[in-house]
Amino acid sequence: MTIIEPRQIAGVAGPETASGSIRRAKHSVRIIGRRGMGSMGWGDGIRKAKHPVLIIGHRAAEIDIDDKKMLDYLLELAQKGNISVIATPHTNPALLERDYTKAGIMPAIEIGHRLTDPDWKGIDGKGPYDLAIFAGLPNYMESTILSGLKHFAPQIRTMTLDNTYQPHACWSFSNISGRDWLENLKAIIEHVED
């Protein structure tokens, strides 16, 4: 059992955080849920969501995981899970390199703001999102946006797939190594596809 701490030193949020401990499963680390959310098995939250959205920041195109970029795993997840993608503008060149043109493009702070509106129909026009999955934003910026959603978007659940613990998310990894991260991302992609 490992005690989890926010990735950012002094980033202690408050009573409603993804707090507690994590258990190392056979091959992987479980995602930790905020109070009332419960811990999850791989991809459960994504599979149960009716209209999830994956929000990808520019760092996803910079960070290596094994021999690929983080972005490649995220796009695979989006494809297999049939998840809408909104990329932040500076991520777009990396998407174009991959011939991925399905993503909506919107700055992170605008996405956060619109997600607080329960009547927003989403970038795909299909109605309000019920799960927002964040990955690849600067850690501290993601933290503040997740905080905004925790307080002002009760209708939406949030998840982060970065390998750093985000206390404001409904679900977050703990601070895990690159190896564990790879293993977990692969497991989620597999589970979502099942």
């Binding site: 503008p89 500076h90 174009l96 503040t144």
Partner: protein, 785 residues
């Protein structure tokens, strides 16, 4: 003035003796107002006088709150958990608490500038007399104090007139601060309105401070050719005694420079500065040298170069005395606001103070008389320098390697990286340093914000920050740049030349890079943005730490931004107005455009002028490394004028943004002044306070936020060209919201016509009219039939 116990005001009186016009008498003051312009509706506005204007802005630009903490802990009911917008023991909820917190920050910032201004005005009146005439640019500057005229409805002519303004500011700040008490205000939008009021108060305070010091100290007066001065650690002649001044209040630095001149020592002693005091020192004497922005503070001290450290006020590290002791540099505090626990030696003879500092009997002293600071600092520096120069403070290479090995042998815990604001990969750089490779440590130096939190958390107590600075010693020596020192106000003649092109859109925008140096990826990004927009013929303004960062980068030709571009307020100029308090000249330029070019009455007429600026002047503020409460209040002042501000990703920690919704058509209607009709003008400007994730995102957003409803078709085409071009260059595609900004087919840039026309057709675009825009129904001038 209205806040005096006795006030007699006579507009016009005819008697047997003669005719009296515009005579005003109040306790302790006699002011005859020669200003013929009619008084506007809101001179010396109270906290609620402009509330309706604020509400218009806040209806369009909604707050998006980003709480830093789930708690409120400001009273003994607490801590209260406000998660999910729950209410605390006093009844406050999270959105209101966040706006209250921002108001506190804005009050702190505005109080800081106002207090600074009060100190300057009191000091200069003592030295030069209250009748000393204000002069910010001779005949070239007729509107000498646009913000004071606009807000207070008076035309200050002397230093003494500024006291009246300060009385008002201090009164308002007390009122604003009182609103943050438990149970005073219970609505987040009313708190936000007060934030905007605090910002406006701050702009007046900044203007007071800068016009006072410009008027008496011989600073450049609205001079586009203000001198190019030296910038960077490499410009210091370390063989000479070196004095470091840090802060924002230039009075001690001026007295140091004066003492050196009196004793004919100007060429024998180096006066170097960090933060805005440095800029002001070079405005006073171009021989002074600017080391860099506030993030250079710790690295310069740790370099061991300064022989004496003198601090005044604002943005000084709280551990500056400890750091000075670490390098055995005598320390002098000079401000009542920053005493640092030191003994007050103001009344002691200079000989005794110098002796105590030189011997080390007193590592530091507090001297509240700027004149005495000059003598003590210079004599102490000259006395200690020879001995101090014998030994360095940076780590030799082998010691860096030895420390690095301690780290790598102890499990690489990563807490340094987790404590770093930018999550720099310190562990990897230390690992490489342990193997004798310092390259990664040197790279970290470039992006380091200079906070040294890495050292604070290291369980092995490894001096990580000193290691970074030591590894980059050669790089520090190569920091030799140029910056044009602060020119002060913008000339009326310059406004006349560019007012039309700005309002009509021919000059695509005015972009002001202001604020602190908490950058996400180092200061080079500021320089790159400045150069890109100057190259595109925007007017680029700089101030404070951002002005320094803009100069700390050389292009392929080896030139800095200030060497490449002129200092005049014209298309393609890079205009350093000066220190933080000189920000008032940037917003003042927007106000002067409304007054001089737009011929709108200025006097006490805030709402109309703000409406003009918001709808017509394509100005954007960029505070890429905004960190402080002063930055919070400066930005708020821009917002009340309807000028958008872009911050870097750290800016989300201000806890709220002010964002428009381009997808909500109903938010983007204005009145056409000519007809009274309501006209859709598209989301221009789309946001009032926006945090960009990257420099690239910021650049595209800046270009977009320069659009205004009043743009002519030629102007809009120019602005769209830059927006689309930057989007394509940086994001690889044309923007998907072009249809929102094209009003008529003539708006479409000729070179992009085919491409854009296709987009417009796909989006079912329809032509709209270009109104004479206003958000204020009472501005409609349609004549009744």
């Amino acid at each position: 003035m209205t806040d005096k116990g006795i006030n007699l005001k006579i507009r016009e009186l005819q008697s047997d003796i003669g005719k009296i016009k515009d005579l005003e008498i109040s306790i302790g003051k006699f002011r005859q107002d020669n200003w013929t312009e009619l008084q506007g509706p809101t001179p010396f506005p109270s906290m609620t006088a402009l509330r309706n204007w604020d509400k218009k802005l806040l209806a369009r630009y909604q707050p998006f709150y980003l709480p830093f903490s789930d708690h409120c802990d400001l009273c003994t009911y607490g801590k209260c958990d406000l998660t999910g917008n729950k209410r605390g023991a006093c009844g406050i909820n999270m959105s209101t608490q966040q706006s209250r917190t921002y108001l506190l920050a804005a009050c702190i910032g505005a109080a800081t500038h106002t207090s600074h201004a009060r100190e300057l005005v009191t000091h200069t009146i003592q030295k030069f007399g209250s009748d000393h005439l204000l002069d910010t640019g001779g005949l070239a500057v007729g509107v000498e104090a646009p913000t004071i005229r606009l807000v207070c409805g008076i035309k200050p002519e002397t230093l003494g007139d500024l006291e009246t303004v300060l009385d008002y500011l201090e009164n308002q700040l007390t009122q604003l601060l009182s609103a943050t008490h438990t149970g005073q205000e219970g609505n987040h939008l009313d708190f936000e309105s007060k934030v905007l009021h605090a910002g406006m108060i701050d702009q007046v305070g900044m203007e007071v401070a800068d016009i006072a010091q410009i008027s008496v100290f011989g600073f450049p007066k609205a001079d586009p050719d203000a001198p190019l001065v030296e910038l960077g650690m490499g410009v210091v002649d370390t063989k000479k005694p070196v004095i470091l001044v840090i802060g924002h209040n230039v009075l001690p630095a001026i007295n140091i420079i004066d003492y050196l001149k009196d004793k004919r020592l100007s060429d024998e002693v180096e006066v170097t500065g960090i933060c805005c005091t440095a800029i002001d020192a070079t405005r006073y004497s171009p021989k002074a040298k600017i080391i860099g922005p506030m993030s250079w503070q710790l690295r310069y001290i740790r370099s061991g170069i300064p022989d004496v450290i003198v601090v005044d006020e604002q943005c000084i590290r709280c551990d500056s005395l400890i750091e000075a002791e670490r390098i055995r540099a005598p320390f002098i505090a000079t401000s009542e606001k920053n005493c640092l626990g030191l003994t007050d030696r103001t009344r002691d003879p200079a000989d005794e103070i110098v002796a105590d500092l030189v011997s080390g009997k007193a590592p530091g002293v507090l001297i509240l008389d700027p004149d005495k600071v000059g003598e003590v600092a210079v004599r102490t520096a000259c006395a200690v320098a020879p001995e101090r120069k014998k030994s360095g403070t940076l780590l030799p290479s082998q010691e860096i390697i030895d420390y690095a090995k301690i780290c790598t042998q102890s499990n690489m815990c990563l807490v340094c990286q987790r404590a770093c604001p930018n999550e720099l990969n310190i562990p990897e750089s230390i690992k490489a340093a342990g193997q004798g490779n310092f390259r990664k440590l040197i790279d970290i130096y470039d992006e380091c914000a200079g906070c040294a939190r890495c050292e604070q958390v290291c369980p092995q107590e490894i001096p990580l920050y000193t290691m970074i600075v030591s590894a980059a010693a050669q790089k520090m020596r190569e920091e030799t740049f140029k910056i044009r020192t602060g020119r002060g106000a913008i000339q009326d003649t310059e406004i006349r030349k560019v007012g039309g092109p700005i309002v009509l859109g021919d000059i695509p925008g005015v972009v002001a890079f202001v604020g602190c140096s908490n950058y996400p990826k180092g200061g080079q990004e500021v320089a790159e943005m400045c150069m890109e927009f100057a190259k595109r013929r925007y007017i680029v303004c700089t101030s404070g730490c951002s002005a320094m960062s803009a100069g700390m980068y050389r292009n392929e030709e080896g030139k800095t931004a200030y060497e490449m571009y002129p200092g005049s307020f014209e298309a393609g100029g890079i205009v350093n107005v000066g220190p933080c308090v000189a920000n008032a000249h940037i917003s003042g330029a927007a106000v002067k455009i409304a007054s001089i070019f737009g011929r709108r009455p200025l006097r006490g007429n805030y709402e109309e002028i703000a409406d003009y600026v918001h709808n017509r002047v394509g100005a954007v503020g960029v505070a890429w490394g905004a960190m402080s409460q002063k930055a919070a209040s400066i930005m708020s002042g821009f917002w009340r004028l309807g000028i958008p501000v872009v911050v870097g990703p750290h800016g989300t920690k201000y806890r709220r943004m002010l964002l428009g919704r381009a997808d909500r058509e109903q938010d983007w209607y204005v009145h056409d002044r000519r007809t009274g009709e309501k006209v859709y003008v598209g989301p221009v400007p789309e946001h009032l306070f926006f945090a960009a994730e990257t420099k690239e995102e910021a650049m595209v957003m800046i270009a977009k936020l320069c659009m205004r409803p009043n743009d002519t078709v030629k102007g809009r085409a120019t602005k769209l060209t830059h927006y689309i071009d930057l989007h394509r260059k940086l994001f690889g595609t044309i923007p998907d919201d072009i249809h929102l900004f094209v009003r008529t087919a003539m708006d479409v840039p000729v070179t992009m016509k085919g491409e854009i026309t296709r987009v417009l057709e796909e989006r079912g675009w329809k032509e709209t009219i270009i109104p004479d825009p206003t958000l204020l129904s009472h501005q409609i001038i349609k004549k009744e039939l």
